[in-house]
């Protein structure tokens, strides 16, 4: 119904993979025969980002395996919905701004600086960062602090695997991430809407949790710029704003990082930002959410504690007052 949009001409209708085709393709990829074929397309470290550098209309296909155990059973939202409805203030505050303004964003070359309380620090190329990590697909729930939600098939690898390579010291209690600061490329950074660059962070045990993902793609393709290319964080039991995009810096710290939303509106956004239907945003309820993508009626559904990942992550917060540490 709404999917044959001409409103955002940047995405050709052919880029929208119908879910059943997507499933069958995925089955092929995981089936072995297709795997070899897909590998010839190129892995990271090769030219997998070529497509992303040229333009977002045809992101490069990725080689990955499906991690069903870490995926939810729900139907993912369409590629169109996921790539045209984004909160990414670096490219504008309207949901449609990033899809329009991020098209020319350069993700190559890309470096990530690792610092702080770790044995291995320095500046690494994106290829170096990604090389040892086999990619997997995980279908996660995405709950925005604005009380809407989607289902997204991310492609990435566990953040914990990456962190172990840097050998954080015993002083490392938190990990802090920063987005690229480049006002020339990111028009939002020329405004004072938020302090730039965007900063996010996790407690070390949250960062090492197997659900926490470094994502490099979605729907089996390289990450579109508007979704946080080339490297972004996904923490599915937290509100979406924790999922920092276009990461250029990873820093291990002893103290909790001053994260962007929590420092610019401390009464409304906390450091933890765990999805919690019992703790309302001061201006709106978090008890329910509107699940996007279905019919116009009946989108509203109850929000689950920890966005439905309570069984896996609630133990991280044992004994903590989640009203205080929201």
């Amino acid at each position: 119904m709404r999917k044959n949009s001409t409103q955002l001409g940047k995405i050709a209708p052919s880029d929208i993979t119908p879910y059943h085709k997507y499933l069958s393709r995925r089955a092929l990829l995981t089936g072995g025969i297709g795997l070899a074929a897909a590998q010839t397309i190129g892995r990271f470290g090769g030219n997998a980002f070529g497509g992303a550098a040229i333009g977002q209309s045809a992101p490069a296909a990725l080689t990955y395996t499906r991690n069903a155990a870490m995926s939810v059973m729900d139907t993912p939202n369409s590629y169109m919905d996921i790539t045209t409805y984004n909160n990414y203030y670096e490219f504008g505050t309207d949901k449609s701004d990033p899809a329009e303004n991020a098209q020319k964003f350069r993700t190559q070359p890309w470096n990530v600086t690792v610092g702080g309380e770790a044995e291995v620090t320095g500046t690494f190329t994106l290829e170096d960062i990604l090389k040892p990590h086999p990619l997997e697909e995980r279908i996660y729930r995405m709950r925005c602090v604005e009380a809407w939600s989607m289902i997204v098939p991310w492609v990435g690898f566990p953040l914990g695997d990456l962190i172990r390579r840097f050998k954080p010291t015993s002083k490392a209690k938190f990990v802090e991430f920063r987005t690229l600061y480049d006002p020339k490329q990111m028009p939002g950074e020329r405004t004072g809407v938020l302090p730039w660059p965007y900063v996010e962070g996790l407690r070390m045990d949250e960062a090492m949790h197997p659900l926490t993902l470094m994502a490099v793609g979605l729907y089996g393709k390289a990450m579109p710029n508007q979704n946080g290319a080339p490297l972004r964080l996904i923490v599915p039991w937290k509100y979406g704003f924790k999922g920092i995009k276009a990461i250029v810096s990873i820093n291990f710290t002893e103290k909790a990082p001053q994260t962007t939303w929590a420092s610019s509106a401390p009464a409304e956004y906390g450091f933890f930002a765990n999805v919690n239907p019992a703790v309302d945003h001061p201006r709106w309820s978090q008890a329910t959410e509107r699940h996007l993508g279905g019919s116009l009626f009946g989108q509203r559904k109850p929000t689950l504690p920890f966005n439905g990942y309570g069984a896996q992550v609630a133990s991280l917060y044992g004994g903590m007052d989640l009203r205080k540490y929201f």
Partner: protein, 229 residues
């Protein structure tokens, strides 16, 4: 002062001018005012290649809310425009614009209750009592009801001076509307700021005019008999 004495009086007779306004200009403006609603309807049903994007409910909610504010502002522009252009033409559209503000706020409310809150009156009531910006928005909507109900020429005649006083509520309603918008924006307050600035100008002008008219000798001409705006 007879209406034809203004700058728009020109060569045409009053009757021909009135007919042109009534049968040509007014219907055109009326249809133009409906364009946002048509666009939303087309988008909601996927007509004419129009799409409302991934979150059509939010687009409908925000578009109707913004057009309510726009029409409140447009309504409040009519009197200053009359003063500046010395033409009463503007006042002939004031009621229509005011009623369109009411039309869009009803749509805004319908989208909120039926689509956003899935028709749950309990959730609506919780919002009204717990969330100040919704309390404010709801009171503005309720205040618009008596204004819309007394918008006919008949009611205007019957109520006389009381009509003038009653319709001054539009100042309060517009103020509440801007607060309602400002309060729910997450961080980017540039647009609400724009509305607040516009409203300050529109209300400030009236205050200035009133102050001036209190001074003897430089009374601003009251072109229309009853003037609530």
């Amino acid at each position: 002062m007879p209406p034809s004495q203004g700058r728009d009086g020109g060569a045409r007779t009053g009757g021909a001018r009135l007919r042109a306004i009534r049968w040509a200009l007014k219907p055109l403006v009326f249809i133009a005012c409906l364009v946002p609603a048509f666009r939303l309807t087309a988008g909601a049903f996927g007509f004419a290649g129009i799409s409302l994007g991934a979150d059509p409910v939010m687009v409908m909610l925000h578009t109707c809310g913004k057009w309510t504010l726009n029409f409140l502002m447009i309504t409040l522009c009519m009197t200053p425009l009359r003063d500046f252009t010395r033409s009463t033409l503007w006042l002939r559209f004031r009621r229509m614009f005011g009623l369109f503000a009411f039309f869009y706020v009803l749509l805004h409310f319908a989208v909120y209750l039926l689509l956003d809150q899935a028709g749950k009156l309990g959730a609506l009531w919780q919002d009204v009592i717990k969330r100040p910006y919704i309390t404010i928005g709801m009171s503005a909507l309720l205040m618009l009801i008596p204004l819309a109900a007394t918008s006919t020429a008949k009611a205007q005649r019957r109520l006389g001076l009381r009509w003038v006083r009653l319709h001054r509520l539009i100042y309060v309603i517009a103020g509440l509307g801007v607060c309602h918008y400002w309060w729910q924006v997450k961080k980017d307050i540039r647009e609400p700021l724009l509305y607040a600035g516009g409203l300050t100008l529109l209300l400030g002008y009236r205050l200035w005019k009133q102050r001036r008219s209190l001074l003897p000798g430089i009374n601003v001409a009251r072109v229309a008999g009853t003037d609530a705006s």
